[in-house]
Symmetry: C2
């Protein structure tokens, strides 16, 4: 299993065990788990026991497995890597209060974008993405904004940079429209994108115009708080 440079196969097997769980299948039996990762039941059992010992997995009464609380703790520490939660969380709350739409911060993580923070509006029935979710870079306004400011190719991206924002209507998810603007840190380095999302019906040209000013003001505040040049 160790791919290019040497790794530890057992560890990778354990990781794939964790990956077997999803929002829908958050509790799996040993057999099902073994089937999904294509390993022997006995092997899975022993790995799972070790994971459980460290709180990464938990066993419920009926002997089936689910992810453990330690993952929440670790995920949280990951978030604190960005040392920005103290600034971002109240800022998102403000944005929601002012615009009535849900607000989120996305950062690039490899060839995807990660929803790092999120604050839902009261009206939001259907979340587009939850904190921790990864979505494509080339679909949806928050992703396209990130691409526009990290790679130079493509006329669409030139236009986004010229405008300083981007809006999409159901591009990634037909039920979601979004407006996004870039956030910078340490000068002119892209940190990620700040976005408002909601049902396309509410995203009229007029509404976007009104909310865009609020969004951009928030982005400027956030950028300068992180040592970035706000950008025009």
């Amino acid at each position: 299993m160790p791919g290019n440079s040497a790794g530890v196969a057992a560890v990778e097997r354990a990781a794939s065990l964790l990956e077997a769980f999803t929002d829908r299948d958050f509790t799996l039996s040993l057999g099902e788990l073994a089937r999904r990762v294509e390993l022997d039941k006995a092997t899975v059992l022993r790995i799972a026991r070790s994971l459980a010992k460290y709180g990464l997995l938990i066993r419920n009464e009926d002997a089936s497995w689910r992810l453990g609380p330690k993952l929440m703790k670790l995920g949280n520490i990951y978030q604190s890597t960005f040392r920005a939660s103290d600034i971002i969380e109240p800022l998102l709350a403000d944005l929601v209060a002012q615009t009535g739409e849900s607000a989120a911060v996305y950062v690039r993580e490899g060839q995807e974008r990660l929803c790092l923070f999120r604050h839902d509006s009261h009206q939001s029935i259907r979340h587009s993405a939850r904190v921790g979710d990864t979505l494509p870079l080339d679909r949806g306004a928050p992703g396209r904004v990130i691409l526009a400011y990290s790679e130079r190719s493509g006329t669409i991206y030139d236009e986004i940079r010229a405008a300083g924002y981007h809006a999409t209507f159901g591009e990634r998810d037909p039920q979601v429209a979004s407006v996004a603007v870039p956030v910078f840190r340490d000068g002119r380095n892209l940190f990620g994108s700040l976005a408002l999302t909601g049902p396309p019906a509410r995203f009229t040209e007029e509404a976007i115009k009104r909310n865009l000013e609020i969004l951009m003001a928030a982005a400027r505040r956030l950028s300068s708080a992180m040592g970035g040049e706000p950008g025009t």
Copy 2:
């Protein structure tokens, strides 16, 4: 390393690697990492590479390591185990809006309590606990309430059950006061505790009395939403 029943040592080593990271030391060099887990540098390197392959660890430009985004995703799935975020999050927001204090939900996880959800008030400068943090069961109102409804021993706990709530003033953390009430699911089974926290100065007898009604109303709503008997 495999403790009582057979496990996989390499997996446990990998888990301890993840545990080496904290809020403060969220980025560690290979050497530092090896020192902390008391393993050879080469061993740590290989394990870390495998973890990185699955997004559980990430390497930054200067070759040091930090926790990976996959942990956020997994932590999120763990949360969804409780299938209650859709109800709880807006409920906490409401509580904060009505009381002006921070609100949180704790559940029991072994011999500790886990902060499962949290919503900070605008006034809160200092968070007492963040989502994913584990705190002692026998310190602080949310913990004591959980104990009162899951174990019967101790006169303090009898009193808490009689009152239906509990308040503490800097018991766990000198700078934090809290009021907590139980939440039930599926009849009369304890789900966890719902709490308001803030600086002791603001938690006057009068303020508690006022906020307690709001808190209990929220707990009743939450309990019945989860199929629990609200309790008087």
